[in-house]
Structures are given as structure tokens and as C-alpha cells.
């Protein structure tokens, strides 16, 4: 899918993004609606927007609460707020478990931490997870907060919003609709089609009941390179396209050590050049922790580190070394991640992040190496076809993404058209996982390197 060129001359990503941000802040600060929804594609500056909106609300004398989904996200927001504005009084509401927050917060003089919302009353910004906020009762507060910011709202479940919505008058909902939907460990078909289906995402419920709320979208991904944005946008955001903030040639990935001609090195070179690389193993049905694929994947990571990579980007004047902390490995299942970790340890690789799609959400790396969710499978289940999973895995990188996969996934997809039952009243979700998988595979096939063992 190609994007139409913007009308009226060249596309200026900075100006477009600034215009969108201004409109969002205007609706948040001066709008009459109780809610504002912002859709943000991967790496479009969502956290920057949240920090800026929080500071502007606080500066306007309107204290606010911020609701994030995980403790890591909360700590990250607190650190970003303190970095931008060290004098801003911030409250970190946390649980009473051991080590409830990042120790780095202890060094920030204007961040107060407590397990009780009452202790944090009067601070400009109070931040916590949805799970912790759910235990705060509105009658323990003097009054509900005037404002709230809900971060990662598409990953929040409707029932979690129900538990906290009484705490605020109005809210800014920010999130990425293309990532993984929230899930429940028991069936929830009973409520499918109801506007307040508790297993749906918070934004789905919010908009079903309040369709008049203004919806904005950030138009530029600053993370994804020019090679990746059109594919990710076309495959996963077919009706809400976005652009990359950088152009071809703005970024480069080079290696000091030349290729030794092995498949691992050739796929690395292909990905460094084109932004994508597909390392294809011979077709075979395998257990989930396919030892050969895991071995190939570990080998690629080892070579990425050994070959002395350097990443040039708009962020700095010179090339930055491609170190282990700038590389991530993504899988669909936890046992696959565990197998990869073990394989990497055997090759002496440390400090490379290895995790499932769920846990890689919201993170950013220079290079990612991905085990394709459908690799070696005899069937294509709804779990493995879920667009959000593939979207997360293929949109974490700033420079290049290498996918390791068994051959034959295209035939597998053709053999398993999606057969999920149609539920009355449920809005059909686009893109379809089947279609998105085919789109990504077709593109990857252009950058294929065959594994020779």
C-alpha cells in the first residue's frame, strides 16, 4: 500500500507533528469535551506528548493524575517529567510490595513517593498504575481530580477503566491502536457486542459510549526508519497512515568487520542496507522452541555484536556503536524467549534484551531480531495471527529488523483463513491478521537469505 504524497509540496514531518500536538493540547486545555483520544503509531512521540500535556496542565494550575499500565511505564514517565522540569512537584503512588518503584526515583528531590493517595494530595502531578489507582476510593480524596491522562489506553481493559473513571472529571487518552489488545484468561464471549464489554479495550468502551469525543492522531513516527514506516503503516494502520520522521539516507548501519559469507552475515548486510532481512530456514513442522531456528537467531545476534556495528542517525553527529543494549530479540511465547536466552548464554552473549511481544511493547532498539510467530507451526491460530503481535515485533527498531522464519508460512496462511466466529454488535477490526501477515511476508521475501546450516 502506497501513501499519497501530501498535497501542496513536500511533507515536513516536524511541522506536521507540531500541528497535531498543538491541536491535541488545545482540546485538552480548552476543549469542552470530557475526553480526548489520541492514536499514536509506534515511536510517534507518545511519551513526549504525555509529558508535555502534563506540564502544561500543571502550569495552568490544574493538578492532574496520570494512569499508566505497568510500574516500568510509571517510573519512566516520572523520570521523563523530572528530566524536563526538575522543579515540578510529582507524586509517585506505589504498592506496598518490596521494591515497588525504580530506585532512580530516590535521587529526585521533587518526587514524593507513597502508598497512600492522601499523602500526595496537593502535588501537581500524581502518577501510578491503573491497578494501584483502582484501590483509591474517591471519598478518601477531597474531590475527584479535574484532569487525568491515561497512557497506553489501548492496552488498558475496559474493566480497569471502570474501576478508576470515578477519580477524574475529564481525561486525555493516549495509546497505540495497532499494538496488542488486552486479553482475559477466561472466555468473555458472553459480553461480546456490549458497549461496555469488560474484556474490550478502554478506548473501545469510551468511544462506544461517547462517540462525539475528539480523536486525534500523531502523524509521524520518529522511531521507524524510512524503510519500515510504509510497510508498518500499510499493513497495520491501513486507514490511518503515518510517515517516518526521517528520510532514506538519514540513517545508516555499517559494520567494521566484513561479511564472512555465512547466511547470518549476509542477512545482517541485507538488513543493514534495506532495513529488513529474512533469514529463511527449510520448511518443517517443529516444536515451539525450534532448536535450529533458535540457534540461527542466536548466531545472528552473536555476529551483530562481533562485527563492530555502528549506527548513524539524526540523533548525533557521528556513528554510535551498536552495543548489546541496543539490540533486542522478540518472540511470541515465553518458552521461546527462555530458549533464546539459553542459546545466547551458550554463545557468551549478555545484556541483549530477549522478551515476548507483550513485554517489548513501548520499547525501542536499533536492531531487532524476531522469531516469526508462525515459524514451523502446523496451524495458524488466532493468537499467532493477532496483528498486534506482529506489529509490536516489527516496529521496535530504529535501523533494521531481521526476521528468522521457517519457509512455508505463506502456504500455512493460505491453508488457515481466519475462522473466528462473528459476534453481533462487535465492530470488525482492521487490519485483519491474515492480510497483515501476508503483507509483511511479501515485503520480507524481497530480502530473503536462505540459512545453510
Amino acid at each position: 500500500m502506497q501513501l499519497a504524497p501530501p498535497a501542496g509540496g513536500a511533507f515536513d514531518p516536524g511541522a506536521e507533528a507540531a500541528r497535531a500536538t498543538e491541536a491535541i493540547l488545545h482540546d485538552t486545555l480548552h476543549g469542552t469535551h470530557r475526553g480526548v483520544v489520541v492514536d499514536s503509531p509506534p515511536g510517534a512521540g507518545k511519551s513526549t506528548l504525555v509529558v508535555r500535556a502534563a506540564r502544561e496542565l500543571a502550569a495552568a494550575g490544574r493538578p492532574l493524575m496520570v494512569i499508566a499500565q505497568t510500574n516500568a511505564q510509571v517510573d519512566d514517565l516520572v523520570l521523563r517529567l523530572a528530566e524536563k522540569d526538575p522543579k515540578l512537584p510529582v507524586g509517585r503512588l506505589h504498592s506496598s510490595d518490596p521494591d515497588p518503584y525504580d530506585k532512580a526515583l530516590d535521587d529526585l528531590p521533587n518526587v514524593r513517593k507513597s502508598t497512600k493517595a492522601g499523602d500526595l494530595a496537593g502535588l501537581d502531578v500524581v502518577i501510578s498504575t491503573a491497578a494501584k489507582w483502582a484501590h483509591v476510593k474517591v471519598d478518601q480524596l477531597d474531590a475527584p481530580w479535574g484532569h487525568a491522562i491515561v497512557d497506553e489506553a489501548y492496552q488498558m481493559r475496559s474493566d480497569a477503566l471502570l474501576a478508576v473513571a470515578g477519580l477524574f472529571e475529564r481525561a486525555l487518552f493516549v495509546g497505540d491502536p495497532g499494538q496488542l489488545d488486552p486479553f482475559s484468561i477466561v472466555g468473555a464471549e458472553q459480553w461480546a457486542g456490549l458497549a461496555y464489554d469488560p474484556s474490550a479495550s478502554a478506548v473501545t468502551t469510551l468511544l462506544a459510549h461517547n462517540p462525539e469525543l475528539p480523536q486525534h492522531r500523531l502523524p509521524v513516527s520518529w522511531r521507524l526508519p524510512a524503510s519500515a514506516a510504509p510497510l508498518v503503516s500499510g499493513a497495520f494502520y491501513p486507514y490511518t497512515p503515518f510517515r517516518s520522521g526521517t528520510d532514506h539516507g538519514d540513517r545508516a548501519l555499517r559494520f567494521a568487520v566484513a561479511s564472512d559469507g555465512s547466511a547470518a552475515d549476509r542477512v545482517i548486510d541485507e538488513a543493514a542496507e534495506a532495513g529488513w532481512g529474512l533469514l529463511e530456514l527449510p520448511a518443517r513442522n517443529t516444536p515451539r522452541t525450534d532448536p535450529e531456528a533458535v540457534g540461527a537467531l542466536a548466531r545472528v545476534v552473536r555476529r551483530l555484536l562481533d562485527r563492530g556495528g555502528a549506527a548513524t542517525s539524526e540523533r548525533g553527529p557521528g556513528p554510535a556503536p551498536l552495543t548489546a543494549d541496543r539490540i533486542a530479540v522478540g518472540t511470541a511465547h515465553r518458552d521461546q524467549a527462555a530458549a533464546v536466552r539459553a542459546a545466547l548464554a551458550d554463545l557468551g552473549v549478555r545484556d541483549v534484551t530477549v522478551d515476548t511481544a507483550n513485554r517489548l511493547q513501548g520499547r525501542e532498539y536499533d536492531v531487532t531480531v524476531v522469531l516469526h510467530p508462525l515459524s514451523g507451526r502446523p496451524d495458524a491460530t488466532a493468537f499467532h495471527l493477532e496483528t498486534g503481535r506482529l506489529c509490536v515485533l516489527t516496529s521496535r527498531h530504529r535501523h533494521a529488523c531481521i526476521v528468522v522464519c521457517r519457509a512455508g508460512v505463506d502456504t500455512l496462511l493460505d491453508d488457515h483463513p481466519s475462522t473466528e466466529p462473528v459476534q453481533l454488535g462487535v465492530t470488525v477490526k482492521f487490519p485483519d491478521g491474515w492480510e497483515a501477515n501476508h503483507a509483511v511476508l511479501a515485503r520480507l521475501a524481497e530480502h530473503r537469505v536462505r540459512w545453510s546450516g
Binding site: A131, L162, G166, I185, V186, Q190, W191, A195, H209, D335
Partner: protein, 528 residues
């Protein structure tokens, strides 16, 4: 499917006999269950065709609707069903014990203990298959909003007296069956496939006859062949030797036996209605009775094998010892039963057509909690289930090889002993991963410190060692102890309290409307 289940199925294929998936019975079985084998009419949603029902293995009651499209006959069937189910349910309502429940005092808004009744036992319905549970739910929904002549003298088609109440109870059973680990309404196929693995797919396991064939196969015979026969073998007239457990019937039965019999019944009825004198009426009545008897015999022939199969399934399950946490889960079923008994007695209206936002969220939270609790309890009660979790890297068992006393760095140091465990399992342990072991029925927590070589795990105990500087005796493992540690929690925390339905926030559409939902002008039954 987990790895251990895959292995069990492979073993079942190679041996030709079902393999155990559990060494204990993880669902409660009542001393006196009510078995219900319903049949439904093809092409007519929710129209019962007949049922075999009762608590006595040797003397079930056969209920038949000779013409399922006749509303009056359908009501007569439901009325008879109510006369069996409701007295059975009521027989558990009277026997109560005193219990305590914490409630919020409306005046002081403090949590206080209130003395309440808890039924000592609860009714249990057993149907052959999962589709049977759906059918119970559907019957409940079709009955609970009906009005009797007493409730509403103007109702155009008043329901027989006890039918709406039966609908409320069946709805309650159907809704409770969605809670993981509950046992008020059980499907025999699910009970059996929870405890045995066969060499066929889980879809094929939904055929009760085939599933039982795998489980009951005597030593030296092939369960696979017996299952194949149970599923597909037909007599010379083309009828299945082992009729499906229903509620749907075999199309060959519908077409060649049931439809002609119903046609004869319809003709006899018309002839009787058209009879002009006493003699003709006598002849007509005899023909009608004969036609009715024929349908009775047909329904009996199709429900009886399933009835027997359900009881044989119960026999098989009773060979397993009861799981330790069974009583705990059954107590929650008793609370559920007592709660609904009280709502009926208090004259509350039937369960609404759809849940409101708060009720739906509360139900989902409860079920997720029960699911986690069930998974943990099954593993703790049953070494075979725990083996599956160990194989999946979610638990590990091993021998304690060393215990080194250590203390926390707080102002008053607390004991934090380091325990070294040698294990052959391969758990997914990460930095500071929490692990748990059962200590006198309560979980004790430790955290992962490091690997000290292949299969040697160092853990730091963090709680349940008493208040003193020295740990309480018996609270720290000793060298040589064999302990199973789990990476999953043994007990579930309660979730947050949601707002009352009247305080549903604007994000979820505000409070639900006070007035009842308006029926669709064209199809008023849509509000059912």
C-alpha cells in the same frame, strides 16, 4: 495444549487406551446428583424434544414432547421438568449451617461480620456434554421472563405455575457453570477429559460414547477401535449404534424414524379432533395414544444409552480420590446456591437479559481469579498436574543441599536464609523471580538469587519465619528436604472494589436505566 498433555495423548495413541491426566478428582461430585439427558428438535432453537432425568440410576423419568412445535406440549414438558428439578433443588435449601460473612454497614460504612445461613450442601446437575450446558442456559433464558396467569392475568400465553422459577434456577446453574472450578452444573465429557487423555482430538472428545470407549477399554483391547465404532457404526437400518449424547440428534434418526412417527401423531390428533361420534373418538384416541407411545419409545431408545454412559462416567470418576481443595471450591458453590435461594425467597426479579457494566466487570474479575486459583490448587493437590507445570518451567522440585543463614540489611535485621536446591527441572527463573512453596497449607515466598552451576538454584527465603531474629522452628527447610517450588502464586489476591451500578461513570455510559428495556416493536420476544 501443554507439553505433558501432548505426551499423554501420544501415549494413549500408542497404547490404544486413555492415559490419566490427574491422580485426584478435581471437580466435586455430589452424593446425589441430578442427571439430565436432554434432546432438542433439529432446526428449532430451544425446542425440547424430550429428556431423561432423575437422581436414581435405575429409574429415570422420561419426558417427551410428541410435537415440539406445539407450544402447549412444550409448556407441559417444562412443567413436568419443573416438578422434578425444583423439589430436588428445594431439598437442599432447608438444611443450613451458620456462617459469617463480612458486609459493609450502611451507617458506619465499616466492614462488619454478619451471621448468615449457608446451605450445608447444594444441588448438582450433570449433563452429558458441553452442548447440554448451553441447552440448560437456553432453556433458562426462554423461561425466566415468562409470566404465569397468577402473575399477570392478561398474559396471552400464560406459563404453567412453576415454569418461570425453573427458568431462574436453570439460568443460575448455567451462569455458575462459567466460573472455573465450579460444580453446580457439570458436563460429563468435560469431567472425563479433565481427568483422562485420549488418543483423539479434543473435538472428538466431545462425543461421550467415544470418550468413554477410550477410558473403559479393557487391558489388551484397543480403545481407539472401540471409539471409532462408538462414533460411526450403524445398524442395517442405517441408525447409529451409539446415539450422540445430544442435545442434537442424528439426522438419520430424525429423517427415517422421528419425522414419520411425528407425522402419524399429527394425523391421529387431527383425526381425533375431527371425530364426529363416540366410536370415532375412541378409535382416534387409541391411534393417538399408540402414536404417542411410539415417540416415547423412540426418545427412550436415544436417551437411554447416554443416560447409562453418564453413570458409567461417574463410576470411572469415583475411582479417583477427592482432591484436597475440592471442599474449598464446593463451599463457594454452596455460597452461590445459598445466594440465589435468598434472592428467590426475597422476591427479587429474574436475572436481567444482559449484565450491566459493573456486574459484567465483577463477573469477569471473579472468573479470572477462580481460574488462577483452580490452576494453582490442581497443581498443589496432584503431583501429575504439578509435573505438567514443572515440564512447562513453571515449577521445580529438588533436594535442599545447603542452607546458609543470612539477614536483611534493615535497622532490625530479619532472617533471610539462603537455600540451595539441586533440581533436574528447568524452571524459567529470572532476576529476583518469586517462588513459592506450601508450608503447613500456607505459601512461603522465596526469591531467586542465582544459579550455582547446572541445576543448582540458590533461593532467598523472605517470609513466614515469625517475628523474631531467629526463624521459627520448622519454617526454614533443612538439608536433604525435598521441596517443590512453584513460580505461580498459591493464593489469589482480591481485586479492587468497583463502583456500585448506580455510580457507573460516564466512560461506561453512566448508571443503567431504571426502567425495563423496551421490547422491539416487531419481535417482542427479543428482550428475553
Amino acid at each position: 495444549m501443554s507439553l505433558i498433555d501432548g505426551l499423554a495423548r501420544l501415549e494413549a495413541v500408542s497404547t490404544g487406551r486413555a492415559q490419566p491426566r490427574a491422580t485426584a478428582r478435581h471437580r466435586h461430585l455430589s452424593q446425589r446428583p441430578l442427571v439430565l439427558v436432554p434432546l432438542t428438535t433439529a432446526g428449532e432453537a430451544g425446542a425440547p424434544l424430550g429428556a431423561l432425568v432423575g437422581t436414581e440410576r435405575t429409574s429415570p423419568r422420561l419426558l417427551v414432547v410428541p410435537q415440539p412445535r406445539d407450544r402447549d406440549l412444550r409448556f407441559a414438558f417444562l412443567s413436568e421438568l419443573a416438578e422434578i428439578v425444583l423439589p430436588y433443588v428445594d431439598s437442599f435449601a432447608g438444611d443450613v449451617e451458620a456462617a459469617e460473612r463480612s458486609e459493609t454497614d450502611p451507617e458506619t460504612s465499616k466492614r462488619v461480620k454478619v451471621e448468615v445461613e449457608l446451605c450445608a450442601d447444594a444441588p448438582q446437575l450433570i449433563v452429558p456434554s458441553r452442548a447440554g450446558i448451553e441447552f440448560v442456559r437456553l432453556l433458562g433464558r426462554s423461561m425466566r421472563f415468562r409470566r404465569t396467569a397468577e402473575q399477570d392475568p392478561d398474559a396471552p400465553y400464560p406459563a404453567p405455575p412453576r415454569v418461570p422459577l425453573l427458568g431462574r434456577w436453570l439460568t443460575h446453574f448455567g451462569e455458575r457453570a462459567r466460573v472455573p472450578g465450579s460444580s453446580l452444573l457439570l458436563a460429563m465429557t468435560e469431567l472425563l477429559s479433565r481427568h483422562w487423555a485420549t488418543g483423539q482430538s479434543s473435538l472428538e472428545d466431545q462425543h461421550l460414547g467415544a470418550l468413554l470407549a477410550w477410558i473403559e477399554a479393557p487391558e489388551g483391547t484397543s480403545g481407539a477401535e472401540a471409539a471409532f465404532r462408538a462414533e460411526l457404526a450403524r445398524d442395517e437400518a442405517g441408525q447409529l449404534l451409539c446415539p450422540p449424547a445430544g442435545p442434537a440428534t442424528d439426522p438419520a434418526f430424525d429423517n427415517t424414524l422421528l419425522a414419520p412417527a411425528m407425522e402419524r401423531y399429527d394425523r391421529a390428533r387431527s383425526a381425533l379432533a375431527a371425530a364426529e361420534d363416540g366410536v370415532a373418538a375412541d378409535v382416534g384416541l387409541a391411534a393417538l395414544t399408540a402414536a404417542e407411545q411410539e415417540i416415547h419409545a423412540l426418545i427412550d431408545s436415544r436417551t437411554r444409552p447416554t443416560w447409562d454412559a453418564v453413570w458409567r462416567g461417574l463410576d470411572a470418576l469415583c475411582t479417583l480420590p477427592v482432591a484436597a481443595h475440592d471442599a474449598d471450591r464446593w463451599t463457594r458453590d454452596r455460597w452461590s446456591f445459598t445466594g440465589h435461594r435468598d434472592r428467590v425467597v426475597a422476591g427479587e426479579p429474574p436475572q436481567p437479559r444482559v449484565d450491566d457494566a459493573v456486574t459484567a466487570a465483577n463477573k469477569l474479575a471473579t472468573r479470572e481469579r477462580e481460574q488462577s486459583r483452580l490452576e494453582a490448587q490442581e497443581a498443589l493437590d496432584d503431583p501429575l498436574v504439578m509435573a505438567g507445570r514443572r515440564l512447562a518451567g513453571e515449577a521445580f522440585a529438588g533436594e535442599v543441599t545447603e542452607v546458609v543463614m543470612a539477614y536483611s540489611e534493615a535497622k532490625s535485621p530479619r532472617p533471610r536464609p539462603l537455600v540451595t536446591v539441586r533440581t533436574d527441572d528447568r524452571p524459567h527463573l529470572g532476576e529476583r523471580t518469586k517462588v513459592y512453596r506450601a508450608l503447613g497449607g500456607k505459601p512461603q515466598t522465596a526469591e531467586f538469587v542465582a544459579y550455582e552451576g547446572e541445576g543448582v538454584v540458590v533461593l532467598r527465603l523472605t517470609d513466614k519465619m515469625g517475628r523474631g531474629k531467629e526463624p521459627d522452628p520448622g519454617s526454614v527447610p533443612e538439608k536433604g528436604d525435598r521441596i517443590c517450588w512453584t513460580l505461580f502464586e498459591h493464593e489469589q489476591r482480591g481485586g479492587p472494589k468497583l463502583p456500585d451500578p448506580e455510580e457507573t461513570p460516564w466512560t461506561h455510559g453512566g448508571p443503567p436505566a431504571e426502567t425495563a428495556e423496551r421490547p422491539d416493536p416487531v419481535t417482542a420476544e427479543d428482550t428475553l
